[in-house]
C-alpha cells in the first residue's frame, strides 16, 4: 500500500440521504473531493464529486437500483487510484481497473454489483532481475530491475516518483509477488513491483519536448498525407458508420508503438469482444509476437455504468504514463471521447450545475485539454525519453463538426483526421476526407521521412495534394457541364486523381496484405502513379487522344499494388508495361 493510507485514520462512516440514478447524496461523511467511497449495504464503488456543508455528493460506478436512504457509506480516504505493475499488458479492464476476466469467473457472464478485484494479480510471482547493486544511489523514477512481462515487453521496476533519493541497501533477485520488496533503500524504504497512483493526477516527468519522429501507422493516408508524431495528439471525428472504430483498431494493430492502451469508452460490447478475440491472434508487424502482448484494453461499454465511463480515460492514460516512465513509446486510443464528455454532461446535469454549450458542463474544455496535455514526448525523471501519443475518436451528433466536443478537441490536437460519411457510403475506406483533414506535424516530421524513406517524400506528398485539390475544383465544373466538356488535359488530371484516390488513399483494412502498408510501400505506390501521370501527359502532348490513354490496359493494375505482398517487382513490371504501352500510342 502507498504511505498515504497508513498515516490516515479510518474516517467516520456517513449515511445516504438521496439517490437519483448514479448520483447519491450522503451526510456525516467527512470526505475530501474525489475520495473513493463504498456506498450502501452492497458496498458499491463511488467517488466524491461535491461537498456542501455536511452533505456529500457521490457518483457511483455501479448500477444503483434498490439502493435507498439510510444505508451506510464508507470512506476509503483515498482518491481513485490504479494499481501499476506487471500483468497489465494482455489484460482487459473495466473503467475502474477491475479485470473483466476475473469478474467473469467471480460472477458469470453478466456484470453484477459490489464485486471488487485488484487490478493486478497479487498472488502471481514474477521473475525479478535487478539492474542495481547494493551501494548504488537511486533517485525517483530510476529503474532498479526488470521483469519479463510478456513476449514483447520487459517490465521495468522503478523507484516510485514520491520517494527521495537513496542508497540501495538490499537487492532481492528471483521470483516475487508484486507486494514483496525487491529493493530496499538504506532509509528503510521498500521498493516493490507495484505502485499505486491517483488517476486524475499526471505522473511527474522532467521535461516535455516537441516530437520529431512519426508514429508510423501503416495506413497510407495517415503516413502519407497527415502524419502523427510519437508524442503527438490526433482526433478522429466522424458520424456513425464512417469507420472511426475500424480506423482506431487499425492504429492499435499496426502503429509502431511499443505499448498500446486501447480504451473502449461507452462503445459497443461486440467491438471490444472483437478486439479480445483478434488481438491475441494477430502478429505485431514490428516484432511478430501476438499484438495482445503489447496491449492493455480498457472496456467500459455503453451499457456499463456511466460514472465508470467518466473515469475510464483517466485509468487508461495513467497506465500509459506508467509505461512511458519505463522509456517506452506508448500509443493510447480513446474510442470515443464524446461518450466520455456525455458522461460528464450526465453527471453534471444530475448535480443541477449551470450548463454550458449544448448542456455540456462549462469545464468540458478544461477537462479535454488536461487529458490531451498528458500526451507528449518527455524527458523522464531518470533522464531517459518516453512518449505518449493520444488518438481520440469523436462522435459528433448528426456528423456536425461544429458541436462542442469536436470544437474543443480541435483547439488542442495537432492532427485531424476527418471522417466523411459520403466516402463511407461509396465504401471508400479509410473514409478520411483529404480536404478537411490536416496535420501540423508535417514540417517537424519531414526530416525523418527524408532520411528514412525517400529524399523527395515531402515533394511527392505535395504533388498528390495538388492533384487532389485540382480534382476537387474540376469536379465542381463537371457537376455542371459533364466530364466530356472539359479540355483533354483536365480530363486526364481527373483520371490521375482517380488513381490517387483508389490505388493510394483507399486501403482495405480487412485484406491480409493491404491492411498494413509500410511507409516505403506508401511512397512506392504514389511514385508509380506519378510515373503514370508523367507518361500519360507526355502521350497527350504528343497528340494521343485522351480516350486512348484512358483505355490503356496496364494502368488499372495500379489498383492492385496495395493487395500485392511482393510489391517491388510488381511495380517494376507495371511501370515498364505502362511506359511501353503509353509510348506505343505515339
Amino acid at each position: 500500500m502507498s504511505q498515504a493510507t497508513q498515516t490516515e485514520a479510518v474516517r467516520e462512516d456517513g449515511t445516504i440521504t438521496g439517490v437519483s440514478g448514479p448520483v447519491v447524496t450522503a451526510v456525516g461523511l467527512e470526505a475530501r473531493m474525489n475520495d473513493v467511497v463504498y456506498v450502501g449495504d452492497e458496498g458499491l464503488m463511488g467517488e466524491v464529486i461535491e461537498i456542501e456543508g455536511d452533505e456529500t455528493t457521490i457518483q457511483v460506478y455501479e448500477e444503483t437500483s434498490g439502493v435507498g436512504p439510510g444505508e451506510p457509506v464508507e470512506n476509503t480516504g483515498n482518491p481513485l487510484t490504479v494499481d501499476l505493475g506487471p500483468g497489465m499488458l494482455d489484460s482487459i479492464y473495466d473503467g475502474v481497473q477491475r479485470p473483466l476476466d476475473v469478474l467473469e469467473t467471480i460472477m458469470g457472464s453478466f456484470l453484477d454489483r459490489g464485486v471488487d478485484a485488484p487490478g493486478i494479480d497479487l498472488e502471481k510471482e514474477w521473475e525479478f532481475t535487478p539492474t542495481v547493486e547494493v551501494g548504488d544511489e537511486v533517485g525517483p523514477g530510476e529503474v532498479v530491475g526488470t521483469v519479463p512481462e510478456t513476449e514483447s515487453i520487459d517490465h521495468k521496476v522503478m523507484v516510485p516518483p514520491t520517494f527521495d533519493e537513496g542508497i540501495v541497501a538490499e537487492v532481492n533477485d528471483g521470483a516475487y509477488t508484486v507486494d514483496d520488496p525487491v529493493v530496499v533503500l538504506e532509509s528503510g524504504e521498500e521498493i516493490t513491483m507495484r505502485q499505486e497512483w491517483p488517476v486524475r493526477r499526471a505522473r511527474p516527468t522532467a521535461d516535455k519536448h516537441s516530437p520529431i519522429v512519426p508514429l508510423v501507422t501503416g495506413q497510407r493516408i495517415q503516413d502519407g498525407l497527415f502524419p502523427i508524431a510519437k508524442g503527438g495528439t490526433a482526433a478522429i471525428p466522424g458520424p456513425f458508420g464512417s469507420g472511426k472504430t475500424v480506423t482506431q483498431q487499425s492504429l492499435a494493430k499496426f502503429a509502431d508503438a511499443d505499448i498500446v492502451v486501447y480504451i473502449g469508452c461507452g462503445e459497443r460490447g461486440n467491438e471490444m469482444t472483437e478486439v479480445i478475440e483478434d488481438f491475441p491472434e494477430l502478429p505485431d508487424p514490428q516484432t511478430g509476437n501476438p499484438l495482445m502482448s503489447r496491449t492493455c484494453l480498457i472496456a467500459n461499454t455503453s451499457n456499463m455504468p456511466v460514472a465508470a465511463r467518466e473515469s475510464c480515460v483517466y485509468t487508461g492514460i495513467t497506465i500509459a504514463e506508467y509505461y512511458r516512465d519505463m522509456g517506452y513509446d506508448v500509443a493510447l486510443m480513446a474510442d470515443s471521447t464524446s461518450r466520455w464528455a456525455e458522461a460528464m454532461r450526465e453527471i453534471s446535469s444530475r448535480l443541477e450545475e449551470m450548463p454550458g454549450e449544448e448542456g455540456y458542463p462549462a469545464y468540458l474544455s478544461a477537462r479535454l485539454s488536461q487529458f490531451y496535455e498528458r500526451a507528449g514526448l518527455f524527458t523522464l525523471l531518470n533522464g531517459e525519453q518516453g512518449s505518449i501519443s493520444v488518438v481520440g475518436a469523436v462522435s459528433p451528433p448528426g456528423g456536425d463538426f461544429s458541436e462542442p466536443v469536436t470544437q474543443n478537441t480541435l483547439r488542442i490536437v495537432k492532427t485531424f483526421w476527418a471522417l466523411d460519411s459520403d466516402l463511407a457510403e461509396r465504401r471508400h475506406f479509410p473514409a478520411i476526407n483529404w480536404d478537411e483533414s490536416y496535420s501540423l506535424y508535417k514540417s517537424q516530421l519531414d526530416p525523418w521521412f527524408v532520411e528514412n524513406v525517400a529524399e523527395d517524400y515531402p515533394e511527392l506528398r505535395q504533388w498528390a495534394v495538388d492533384i487532389l485539390d485540382e480534382e476537387g475544383e474540376l469536379q465542381e465544373i463537371v457537376q455542371l457541364v459533364g466530364k466530356d466538356a472539359l479540355p483533354e488535359d483536365q480530363q486526364l488530371t481527373l483520371e490521375v486523381a482517380r488513381f490517387v484516390r483508389e490505388a493510394w488513399l483507399q486501403q482495405n483494412a480487412l485484406h491480409d496484405v493491404d491492411r498494413y502498408c509500410p511507409p516505403e510501400k506508401t511512397y512506392a505506390i504514389l511514385q508509380a502513379i506519378q510515373t503514370y501521370h508523367d507518361e500519360a501527359f507526355a502521350a497527350l502532348d504528343a497528340g494521343v487522344p485522351v480516350e486512348d490513354i484512358r483505355d490503356a490496359s496496364a494502368p488499372p493494375r495500379l489498383n492492385r499494388i496495395g493487395t500485392t505482398e511482393d510489391y517491388e517487382p510488381f511495380i517494376e513490371k507495371l511501370v515498364d508495361d505502362m511506359t511501353e504501352e503509353l509510348r506505343g500510342l505515339y
Partner: protein, 471 residues
C-alpha cells in the same frame, strides 16, 4: 408493508410523496385511488424526505387522498417458456384471455451489463431472403440492426418479412428445424391497426406459437413505454440464455419510446440535451440495444431489429443519431424508392452492417460475397452521382462508360433491390443476380473483386463490348 397517504404533488406522469422510511431507488410502487383503481409506478428519485414516482398508467384520477404502497423490490418480469404464444400488455400482463402465467423465475428487468469478456463475437450469417440485406448489409446472429424509416413507409412489412424468412441456412440441413427463430415483439405506441397487421401475420404464418407479444398501443399510457422494451428483453434473455432459443427481438417504434423518456425528463424539470431529449438518452438506449448478443458457451442468442421512424426523415435527429452510434449498422427505408414502387425500398448506400465481414465469405456465404458487395456499392454510388448530372446535361452528354453506370443503377433498383415482400431469395440467388448486373460493366472496372472470382462468375455476354483482357 407500510401505506402512505402523503402525496403532495402530482405533475404530468410524476407523483411526489413524503416518506419516513428508506425507499430504494427504482423500487416498484402501487398507488390506489379512492375509487379503488390501482396504478403502478417506479421510484425515480429517493431521498429521506420524499420520493419521486413515475406512474406507468398515467396520473389522471390521482389526488392527495390516494394510498401509496412501496413493494420493496425493483421491477421484475415473470418469465417462463410458456410465454411463447402469448400476447401481453405493455406492463407484461396477459391480454389474450389465456390462462394465468405461472412463472418459473422472476427477473429484474433492468438487466445487468454483459461482460465484454464473456461475449462471443457474432459471426453466423442469417439469411433473411431479402437481397438488400443479405447481399449488401448482412445480418448475423447476435447483431442489433435497426430499420431507419419514416412515417408512412413500409417498415412493418419489411420487419415482418425478416421475421418470417430469417433462417441460418447451413444448419438447416443438418439439424432440421432447430435454427428457427423465436420472436419477441414489443410494440410501443403503435396504432391498433399496425399492431393487428403484425398479429394477423403471425397468426397466418403460425409464427405466433413461437412468439411473445408485448403491446403498448398508441392510446396506452406513454410512460409505460419505458418499461415495455425492458420486459421484452428480459423475456428474450431468459429464453435465449436459459432455454437455448435463438431470439429475434423486434422493437417498434423506438421513436415513441424516446418521446416517453423526454416526457418524463420534462416533468422532472431536468436540464434537457438536444431537442429537449434527456442528456442520458444515449446511455438509456444503450442499456436496451446492448442486450443483444451471444455468450461464450451458451446455446441461444438475441438478435435485435429495432424500428424507428425518423422525424422529417432526418437521420441527424437525436433518436436515429444516438441509435446509429450504438447499433451495429442500420437499414434505411427510403421514401424515393418507395414512391418508385420498389419493394422493399431499402436504400443501401447509407445502410450498413458492421458485423457483415465476419459473417460472409467462403464457408459462410460464398467466397465472392465481400468483393461483389463492395463493387455493387461503388458502382451504384457512381450511378447515383451520374443521375444528378444527367438532370443538368442530359444523357447524350455522357460517354459510354457513364451510360453503363446509369443503366446499372436503374437495374440495381428494379432487379436486385426490388423483389416483393413474399419472395424469399437464397444467398446464391442474390449473388447470381448481382453478377448479372455487374457483368454490364467491363471486367477491368471491377477492381474491388478478386480476379479469380471474376473469372468464375462474370457473365461474358452481358456486356456488348468488353475492353482489353484484364490479366
Amino acid at each position: 408493508m407500510k401505506e402512505y397517504r402523503t402525496i403532495n404533488k402530482v405533475s404530468g406522469p410524476l407523483v411526489f410523496a413524503e416518506v419516513d422510511e428508506a425507499i430504494g431507488y427504482d423500487e416498484i410502487v402501487e398507488i390506489e385511488t379512492p375509487a379503488g383503481e390501482v396504478k403502478r409506478g417506479q421510484v425515480l428519485e429517493s431521498t429521506d424526505r420524499f420520493v419521486a414516482i413515475q406512474v406507468f398508467e398515467g396520473t389522471e384520477g390521482i389526488d392527495r387522498q390516494c394510498t401509496v404502497r412501496f413493494l420493496g423490490e425493483t421491477m421484475k418480469m415473470d418469465v417462463t417458456e410458456d410465454l411463447l404464444g402469448r400476447v401481453l400488455d405493455g406492463s407484461g400482463r396477459p391480454i389474450d384471455g389465456g390462462p394465468e402465467i405461472v412463472p418459473e423465475e422472476r427477473r429484474d428487468i433492468v438487466g445487468a451489463a454483459l461482460n465484454p469478456h464473456a461475449r462471443e463475437y457474432p459471426a453466423e450469417f442469417i439469411q433473411t431472403g431479402v437481397s438488400g440485406i443479405d447481399g449488401m448489409n448482412t445480418l448475423v446472429r447476435g447483431q442489433k440492426l435497426p430499420l431507419f424509416s419514416g412515417s408512412g413507409l413500409p417498415h412493418n412489412a419489411l420487419a415482418l418479412q425478416i421475421a418470417r424468412q430469417a433462417t441460418v441456412p447451413e444448419e438447416d440441413e443438418a439439424e432440421g428445424e432447430s435454427t428457427e427463430f423465436a420472436v419477441v415483439f414489443a410494440a410501443m405506441g403503435i396504432t391498433a391497426e399496425e399492431a393487428n397487421d403484425f398479429i394477423d401475420d403471425f397468426e397466418r404464418t403460425g409464427a405466433l406459437e413461437r412468439s411473445v407479444v408485448f403491446m403498448n398501443l398508441a392510446d396506452d399510457p406513454s410512460v409505460e413505454r419505458t418499461v415495455t422494451p425492458r420486459l421484452a428483453l428480459t423475456t428474450a434473455e431468459y429464453l435465449a440464455f436459459e432455454k437455448g432459443y435463438h431470439m429475434l427481438v423486434i422493437l417498434t417504434d423506438m421513436t415513441n419510446y424516446c418521446e416517453a423518456l423526454r416526457e418524463i425528463g420534462a416533468a422532472r424539470e431536468e436540464v434537457p440535451g438536444r431537442r429537449g431529449y434527456p442528456g442520458y438518452m444515449y446511455t438509456d438506449l444503450a442499456m436496451l440495444y446492448e442486450r443483444a448478443g451471444r455468450i461464450q458457451g451458451q446455446e441461444g442468442s438475441i438478435t435485435q431489429i429495432p424500428i424507428l421512424t425518423m422525424p422529417g426523415d432526418d437521420d441527424t435527429h437525436p433518436i436515429p443519431d444516438l441509435t446509429g452510434y450504438i447499433t451495429e449498422g442500420q437499414i434505411y427505408v427510403d421514401r424515393d424508392l418507395d414512391s418508385k414502387g420498389v419493394e422493399p425500398p431499402i436504400n443501401v448506400l447509407p445502410s450498413l452492417s458492421r458485423l457483415m465481414d465476419e459473417g460472409i465469405g467462403e464457408g459462410l456465404t460464398r467466397e465472392d460475397h465481400k468483393g461483389v458487395s463492395d463493387q455493387l456499392y461503388a458502382a451504384y454510388a457512381e450511378g447515383e452521382d451520374l443521375r444528378a448530372l444527367v438532370n443538368i446535361v442530359g444523357r447524350e452528354a455522357l460517354d459510354e462508360r457513364d451510360n453503363r453506370y446509369l443503366d446499372f443503377a436503374e437495374r440495381f433498383e428494379t432487379e436486385f433491390i426490388q423483389q416483393g415482400y413474399d419472395t424469399n431469395r437464397t444467398i446464391e440467388d442474390t449473388l447470381d443476380i448481382a453478377w448479372e448486373l455487374l457483368s454490364m460493366l467491363p471486367k477491368d472496372e471491377l477492381h474491388r473483386i478478386d480476379e479469380e472470382h471474376i473469372e468464375t462468375y462474370y457473365v461474358e455476354d452481358a456486356a456488348e463490348t468488353v475492353g482489353a483482357e484484364a490479366d
